[in-house]
Subunit: 488 residues, 2 copies
């Protein structure tokens, strides 16, 4: 492998290395699976600093052209899977769901996912568990272990000051300017949602949710005795015409929205959609709870959060490290309108005083001295490969009438199936399970527990080859069922 | 120092060593501050196993006769403070408090305590923060850091299985037989209380609490919209005659009780009191929430918890590692009647999914390979010394009409002051603060925010010499105020 560098060029060395390697990969001179020179070797050969090579490799990782294997070095990606050119055909009927009681049991879904992790041979397309934690996280735990003061004592209710400042910097990169004093550390996004909802809502209140939406939120609202208005999602996000109609007729007390990499559809709303949504919320004095749990997993760059566009203190924002660093650490955060901060702080104290200090210190130290940016690049590159693999597999193996979303990040996509599958989804999920593939039926995500026939398919936890196998098995089951329906 | 052992005696060697050393200390042959031989040296001299010497030293530690200094060995205790012989004169008026609203702000008290820790020169007799964590806890953190599977991933909602089994063993030593399947790991006692109360209560419900009681519980009940019946404490515990009257008249939905080392009085109820309380609860079908946060800090042995005597599934039990190992780890537990377990599990999922895995793994590893029993012995021995010092100081410095409790463990005692101090307590606390002594006014612990004039004095966070200084300053303020009242 020869790389010629132009030392007189105005293009930085790392970009020249990146470009040259990219060309070698795309021309087939470097074959899938082939090992790249080690950082030290390449730096020596090219007579450049090792950091220059690291930067070039990082960028190739982020492009999804190469991958790293622990202890073995860097390899050309085995499957350079391009995104399919076919656009998303997702276009569901726009039915509002009004729901005064429901009976989702999200913890059963959760418990099943945790169990599935332990079963070898199971292809889990159901849950959005993050990949393995970054390799240096254990080292970070050891590093903080000696600081007894910050890891074993009672701590500030609002969370550790250094971590709140670091989070203020992170959300600034998303376009959200917030002071550390507006940030409240919580035990993952779920506690953030729970605290904010308890703050805003009383039993009997109407609450707007997207339809479909995150099943645990629905169960939480049910537990609080609230009534749900499920405003349908279309390709652009929540249907705003319908939203306005129900803001007017039902005077809901809260709008719950996942604006970026929506769960379960994977959709990210456009900035104009965000502005209109905010405008409606202001007009009807309805606060917004913005759940942005997948914020860091966008392949490109999402528009600024609703919270960043909010000039009236209407939006409470939820973020988390569960989908990027580690869900077991249980560290997330709220960005809270200043007027609500004292009440939320008190409620937090009465819930469980504060988030455990040791996990806070680990996240904070990782942000300060780990390689968070590089870690995110690697995770996103892998997720992009996996998503592309899943889209290709859907085109190949799913019935022609199926429609799906094409998310620009995150961990899953959403498949809408034709109406004649309506009463067969539960059976389908069972048959898939018998064939060692876990999928989640769409019904779990609709406020009424019904909705239209759909599947949420996760591409987060499975290697590309197994995504293909898993989608093929489900596709084959769908085609069989379709035929059997047509002929009975 | 000569120790003669009788190798033919039926008394075990470690007891002979303990007895002989105790005699040497009490006779003055070993002086306060004197260093004991190292474990190795004494074992060699006496020709016994090192474990035999360790056992003897452990028992002397637990007696409060010697103490260990990290890296330097064992020393005769500098102050062998005997318990005062004067019995407790605690005998408050028995006024029931009915309270439909109240406005405690416990998190302000909490925040002040956290701040006080950082102020040098302040004598904090206000808060019940545990002593420093055991020295080997940081080592335990490093040990678990490599087990990525158990510290970074999503975990079981009910908590880690090994830890639940270990807790089942711990509570068995208190006399409470529970299976690991009845145990739910929570983020410290506060989350346990919050979950159990949300499970049992609806807005408007009457709830029995002891008067005085833990201020955060009152605030939590207020937040849930409940109404409080404050049944007065006498020297035996909650006044059961009055309890029965109000069980009959108000049909409360829950009895909240701290049966051992009660907060704030430090009292532990007798087994016959526990049996009668259970009998009443059964008769009126009223569930009990038993808060046993200080369970491990009894100097002797407390009677079995209410939960251990409960044959009808009425009692939910709360325990924690916050007062013994570390409050910052946020690890506590509920022991739940089996019929309520699934509902509490679901509620826990919707609150914040599960307790962070890393702190769970640290506690579990400490219980398996740390020296928890020895650590507890040392903590209790220190607390006993501190309590005795405080009792002596109260006799010397407080007005003669003051009455106090004599707790058999825990972190604080309760001082009841004469009626004429009623309107002066807030001013007193301010003046004490100005004199660099923090105390908590009794009013914070009464459901109506008033009660009788009283102070909760913590002996947990201050060395004996400073306890004397702090109590003397407060005593002097009390005497001055009394005089000024008499002469105005």
């Amino acid at each position: 492998m020869r790389i010629l560098l132009d030392r007189d060029s105005s293009q930085p060395m790392y970009l020249q290395i990146q470009d040259r390697l990219q060309a070698l990969i795309q021309s087939g001179s470097l074959l899938p699976g082939e090992r790249l020179p080690s950082i030290r070797t390449l730096a020596k050969t090219l007579q450049v600093n090792k950091l220059t090579v690291i930067e070039a490799y990082d960028r190739l990782l982020a492009q999804g052209l190469i991958h790293a294997r622990q202890g073995s070095g860097y390899f050309v990606d085995p499957v350079g899977i391009p995104a399919p050119s076919k656009p998303s055909g997702f276009e569901p009927a726009q039915d509002v769901v009004l729901c005064e009681t429901q009976s989702n049991r999200p913890f059963a879904i959760y418990a099943r996912s945790i169990q599935a992790k332990q079963q070898p041979g199971v292809i889990d397309l159901s849950c959005a568990l993050p990949q393995n934690p970054p390799n240096d996280l254990a080292r970070i735990v050891r590093r903080v272990s000696n600081d007894s003061d910050s890891i074993f004592s009672y701590d500030a209710i609002e969370g550790q000051s250094r971590l709140r400042h670091q989070i203020a910097n992170l959300v600034l990169q998303l376009g959200l300017e917030a002071s550390a004093d507006e940030i409240l550390i919580v035990n993952g996004a779920m506690q953030g949602l729970s605290l904010a909802m308890r703050h805003h809502l009383q039993p009997g209140d109407w609450v707007v949710v997207e339809s479909p939406t995150f099943f645990s939120t629905q169960a939480l609202l049910e537990q609080l005795g609230c009534r749900l208005i499920g405003i349908p999602m279309d390709r652009e996000g929540m249907n705003l015409d319908l939203l306005e109609r129900y803001l007017q007729s039902h005077r809901p007390k809260l709008i719950y929205t996942i604006s970026s990499l929506h769960n379960p559809t994977g959709l990210t709303t456009h900035i104009s959609h965000r502005q209109q949504l905010l405008h409606l919320a202001a007009q009807y004095h309805c606060p917004i709870l913005e759940d942005n749990a997948y914020e860091a997993l966008h392949f490109g760059s999402a528009p600024p959060p609703l919270k960043a566009l909010d000039s009236e203190g209407l939006v409470t924002y939820v973020g988390t490290f569960s989908k990027t660093l580690s869900p077991g650490l249980r560290v997330g955060y709220l960005v809270v309108p200043p007027s609500q901060y004292p009440a939320l702080l008190e409620q937090r104290y009465l819930t469980d005083i504060h988030t455990a200090s040791l996990p806070q210190a680990v996240v904070s130290e990782y942000l300060a001295h780990g390689h968070y940016r590089r870690h995110l690049q690697q995770v996103r590159a892998q997720l992009l490969q996996n998503r592309n693999q899943m889209l290709c597999a859907l085109e190949t193996h799913f019935p022609e009438e199926a429609r799906w979303t094409i998310p620009e990040g995150g961990m899953y996509l959403w498949v809408q199936l034709p109406e004649h599958y309506r009463f067969q989804m539960q059976k389908l999920a069972q048959q898939a399970r018998a064939a060692d593939v876990l999928v989640l039926e769409g019904s779990a995500f609709f406020p009424d527990g019904v909705g239209y026939p759909a599947l949420r398919l996760s591409f987060a936890n499975v290697v590309p080859e197994m995504i293909e196998v898993g989608v093929a098995r489900v596709g084959s089951l769908l085609k069989t069922r379709h035929e059997s329906v047509q002929f009975t």
